[in-house]
Every structure is written in C-alpha cells, then in structure tokens.
Symmetry: none
C-alpha cells in the first residue's frame, strides 16, 4: 500500500481539529488535509480533495456530523462528546467505522488509524473478497486482539472519575480514591502530559504552589 490515506478532520473546535490533524499527519501512511470547521466546509473539501477517511465530530455548527457520514460514501470515524447509547447506535447505523469518545488519549486515535490502515489494505482492491477475508478485515478494525495497552488503566480511570467535573489537588484525589498522594500525583502528571487533564497553580499559602487538576475542558466546550 503506497498511496497515502487522505484524511479530513471535521470539527468546529479549531484547536481540537488541529490536534487531531496533527495526530493524523504524524502517522506514516496518512496525509492530513486542512481541517473543515463545518459540514459545508467539509463538503467543499470532499469535492476538492476526495478524502479517503473522515474524522467527524458529531456536533457541528451547521448540521449533524452523523448525517454527513451517512450521506457520503466515504470511510469515516465519528468523534463524540456525547456518549449516550442512542447517539452511538445512530452513528454506527450511519456507517461509522469507529466511534471515539472525547476527550481521548491521542494514542487511541493513533491505534485506530493504524487499525483502519490495515483494514483498508485488506479491502482496498477491486477483486472479490471471500467471507473469511472480510471477517478478518473487520476483526482487525474492531477486534479485541490487541491488549488494552492504550486504554486507561484501572487506576487512571479511578482517578479521572474522582476528578469528575471538579478541580482537586493530588492529595484530595488520593483521599477520594485510596491511592497514595505520590501515586495520584504521578498519574495526574502523566494525564496532564497527555492533555487529558488541565493543571492550574494555586498561590497564596505558605509552601510550594499547589497543583490543581481538572478534567480537560476540550470536550466540555463543545
């Protein structure tokens, strides 16, 4: 497979769109088109550039990303801040090959892109497929073969849940979760490094400034 996969990000949040475009651009075998910030932009870009893959946010200013996916005969991932089951079912029925819940670790997108590339390699021809080949391709896209190295560890999940929508220090999270302060801090620092958590410093008391952590607001702003 020598032809790069042209990928169009469709998201009205300029910063998120840029982040996802950068993830795509960094992937060997992929070419990232300039993101589209609306369905109308996306349709223009689709006409101009014939992308092979769309990364479409559900909530777009002028329409619904799911309808865009349904209407175009292009492979697509749906990206969603909404994670209610009915929305997800609608996305799958519209033809989404994957659904990713914001905010997600960029490595999850990377992994899904790689899976898609392998899937695409198997179904990209013009000749006949046999059932086994198709099943294998779909298993690559959706299978559970890979160990859950890219999903959040149990402790990470616990810490993110403890954060909820509040801001907290590492000590407070430690008390809420039962892990030690040092462990909570280690995880929070790592999550911040991956942009899943935002950090703010609190001054005014004696001693070092306290790091306050909050869940990343990229999803909440949608």
């Amino acid at each position: 497979m020598t032809t790069p996969i042209r990928t169009l990000v469709v998201d009205d949040d300029f910063r998120v769109a840029g982040l996802h475009r950068d993830v795509v651009a960094a992937r060997p075998g992929f070419v990232a088109l300039e993101p589209a910030l609306s369905v109308a932009d996306a349709q223009d870009a689709i006409r101009s550039h014939q992308p092979d893959l769309l990364l479409v946010d559900i909530h777009l200013p002028d329409s619904n990303g799911i309808e865009l996916v349904r209407a175009c005969n292009i492979d697509a991932f749906v990206i969603s801040a909404a994670n209610d089951a009915p929305t997800i079912r609608r996305a799958l029925r519209a033809g989404a090959l994957a659904v990713l819940f914001k905010p997600f670790d960029p490595r999850l997108l990377t992994e899904r892109l790689d899976r898609y590339a392998r899937f695409r390699n198997l179904v990209s021809g013009t000749g006949p497929l046999v059932q086994d080949e198709l099943d294998r391709a779909l298993a690559i896209l959706n299978g559970s073969n890979d160990p859950v190295t890219l999903s959040r560890s149990a402790t990470e999940k616990l810490i993110l849940e403890a954060l909820n929508t509040d801001e907290a220090s590492a000590s407070e999270i430690a008390e809420l979760t039962g892990v030690s302060r040092a462990t909570a801090q280690r995880h929070l620092v790592a999550l911040a490094a991956r942009s899943l958590v935002e950090v703010r410093l609190r001054y005014g008391a004696t001693g070092r400034p306290e790091h306050r952590y909050a869940a990343a607001s990229t999803a909440e702003g949608v």
Copy 2:
C-alpha cells in the same frame, strides 16, 4: 433481555427469503417478520412493524439494498451475491453491521445473529457508554472467533465455588482450590471478561494494586 429482536428479511428471491426467515425464527430471542420482496415492500413493513434488524439483499428489483440500509436508521446485515471489494466497502459505509456472501451456510447466519444479539444487549440502553464498553460490543460483533461459550470447565466451576459470596484475590483462590496462582488468575480474568465476576482494585500496600474478585451481582441478569 426479554424483548425479542424483530427481524425483517428483504430479498426478491422468495425461496431464499423464506430460508433466512426460518433461520431467524429458529433463533431464541428473535422474531421473524414476513419477508419483503422489494424495497417498497420493505418500507411498508418498516412503517408497520418497526423492525429492529434488517437482513437486506443488495440486489433488489426496484432499487438497491445498500441504499435502503443507508436511508433507514435501523440495524442491518447486508447479504450479497456480489463479493467485489468496492461493493463491500459501499455496504459498510452505508452502515451494514455485517456482510454475508451468498450462498452461505445457515450456521453462519445463526452465528452472526447470536453475535448481534449480544452486541445489541450491550448497546441497547439509553445511558452513557464508555469507550471500553463500546469497543467490547464491537469486538463481539466483529471479533475473531472467540467461542464465548457459556459452558464451564471443571476448573472454572471450582474457582466460582471458591469465590462463593466472598471477595478474594487470585492468590487466595489458588490456596483454596489448589490450582496455581497464575491459573486462578487466568480463569478469573476470563470470567471477568465474560462479566461473570467483578473486579475491584485494593490500594494502600506497597507493590502493585491487588485485583480482588467477587461473583457478579445478579444485576447482570438484566
């Protein structure tokens, strides 16, 4: 799962439609509607009966089965005599949850129906899904051939009995049962993957958090 999955077969070949309807009708948890022989028939049946799942042949006399799948917000399998890769890609982009190549062994349809039922069970709620849950549901639908049988080996039975109503670590279960710690853990992990066992992490001691296992509560029977 108490509500049967109403399933509509859409195929212009009366005999094949009847065959597939019979496969569906024979499946516990499924109700087969009277097959539709054209897209127009199908649209009538969809309005009258609100099917949960369509089995749609691509080649229909008055239109294209893929367009029917695309246009309706209903879970669908596509059944196809055509097995060229471009057609398959179109079907997947239209939202087909599975693609089956005619002629196929009825056991393949049976297996795919069962997978769909389990997938549906996981995504049928109205509440939020997390990424892991969605991924697991899709893996069930399309994953490699994990025979997630409900039968239990002797060792599994032994371990479940040792769990009883208590919470225990793999080491503790190993001592109670006489199997090795690694084997106990293997089985407990597999049981957890099948939602028969619940896992909780215990923090506070030096060293990795300890996985504590408990028999799944009866809430899983919903």
